[in-house]
């Protein structure tokens, strides 16, 4: 990691375990880490120091991820900060509409909890355009493909789903 200047990631999540987990993974990968437990605190942190990337949860007390993101978008400087969404609510009523709004307007990548540290780091490095090992590159590409597929599957009609299943089953054999 030495060739990369140390980048700073702001991790916003209301669950302490998740914050600590992501923090450990990020530090291990050579990042500086700032923590925030909701949108309000995150906003204070951004005011103090503009991070290189924000890792954002969606459903939180006080200020939700979507609200926080809207505030970010209002500021010219903040608007440029890349955001990766890490959520457990990607496919339920609590997060779906927020996620749709966010992926339409800005951050393209989201990860669904539970995340694996390798996937998380690979996705972040890709967004930041950092040097990655072959393995990391592959992982990042795979995460992206998996996400694309998830979206396709979510929107697919039953006929397409059937075909897709057949296709994947054949490949297994």
């Amino acid at each position: 990691m030495a060739e990369n200047a140390k980048k700073t990631v702001l991790v916003v999540d209301d669950e302490a375990d998740v914050r600590n987990f992501l923090k450990a993974a990020l530090i291990e990968a050579g990042f500086n880490v700032i923590l925030a437990e909701d949108g309000n605190i995150a906003l204070d942190q951004v005011k103090k120091q503009i991070p290189d990337l924000i890792s954002l949860d969606l459903v939180m007390p006080q200020k939700s991820g979507a609200k926080f993101y809207r505030e970010l978008s209002k500021n010219k400087e903040w608007k440029k900060i890349p955001v990766i969404i890490v959520t457990g609510h990607a496919r339920d009523d609590l997060g779906k509409s927020d996620l749709k709004e966010l992926t339409m307007s800005g951050p393209g990548i989201y990860l669904e909890k539970p995340v694996k540290p390798a996937n998380y780091i690979a996705a972040i490095k890709k967004i930041l355009g950092m040097d990655t090992t072959e393995e990391e590159k592959e992982t990042a590409e795979m995460v992206e493909l998996q996400n694309d597929l998830k979206n396709i599957i979510d929107d697919a009609d039953p006929e397409t789903l059937k075909k897709l299943k057949e296709l994947m089953n054949n490949k297994k054999k």
């Binding site: 987990f21 939180m60 539970p114 694996k116």
Partner: protein, 473 residues
Amino acid sequence: MIFQELFHQVPFNVAVIDRDYNIVEANRNFTEYFGDWKNKKCYAVYKKLKKPCKDCPSVEVFKKGKPIVADAVGIDQQGRKTHYVGHIFPMRIKKGGRVEYALEMTRTVTETDRWQQEYQILFDRVPCYITVIGEDYRIVRANEAFRNNFGDVLGQHCYKVYKRRKNKCPNCPAAKTFRDGRVHHSTQLGMGKRGQDIHYAVSTSPLMRGSDSVAHVIEISNDITALKKLEHEVIEAERLGAVGQTVAGLAHSIKNILMGLEGGKYIVSLGLDKNDKEMINEGWEMLERNFEKTTSLVKDFLSFSKGRLPKLKMIKPDLLVQEIVDLYKDIASQSGIKLESVIDDNIKRAPLDPDGIHTCLTNLVSNAIDACLMGEQKGTEVIIKVSEGQNKLIFEVSDNGSGIDYEIKKKIFTTFFTTKGGEGTGLGLLTTRKIVQEHGGKILVDSQKGSGARFRMEFPRKRLTELYKKAKE
């Protein structure tokens, strides 16, 4: 002279006829109504006929010498058909002699008849069932809508007709009206003439005899069968929706726990790689916490899915409130929060599930305390209030803590929603709502961010009583 005036003033059409149908005298009213009568036969004047009527009532009077009452249809001087009722009296010249004249006092009833017909049509055609029942619960009148659904039932007992019962229904609203002379309402399940279920909402209203006793009761019922069916479908749809939500919520909770386990595992292995004992400890604690979370999730989940009917007991609602205050007093005061109860003087006993309501109040009060801790203001307080509303028992838990964001408010009763990070399972308010609904009540929330929250549980007394009765059966 006085008698002459009286003759003209009486509110009847008065005529005197002789045995040959000649009108020999008539008053002013009669003249105004039927026109000129002098030197005319009665049938010509009353009915514009050329020969005597077949069923002339006066002939009876001449023959039998006794007064009679008769009704007839005639034609007035404008040529309009007119109904009238006549009292006909025999007049003799000599006492004990033959009847020489008949005194006919008639009153037109055309208007009354028309009204009667109108009322009959109204009575029959209104789109609800109307019956009039006597003190012996026999039906003395029934309108067409009723007859169409329940058959021709005059003289039968109402309970037999409505419900095929052999004796009076318990909780009969008509019985109450007979007793207290007031209007009563209730909803009932009856049986139509083809054996079909008919749900109806019935109102009973008294028909008084004199001023103090009820002679008859009018029962007006609306068929709400279609409405009941819709209600049932909605409940069923909601239930299915809830199952879906529950499964999605369960998946989410498990995902969160998995995330914690994943994290713990990762940190432990990092610690092992680096031989960092502190890190191993941190990871291990994370694993433990998330195993613990699994346990409490399963526990909450089981308590949520437990039994559908509340175990109702007649209890004093204020005692429940006192219990909760005692339970939380210390916790609250340690955090610098004032915990108070406000109890209305007129609180009556109510059939409630003590454990269920205890759970509800516990959830609401612990949420309120958390909200006070979350805000930064001082002088926070939590108030538990119990009062009697309009036929409702009302519990309220209010605080002046952090309040609830509008977006969060939309979600608080959805499955597994929690704002307490890792601390909650998100089942508290959901369980509370479930218990309240099982009591036939509803829970409402009133809050704005930054200005506290008020949760209100309303229990309609009527529903509680119905549930209690059902539970005892």
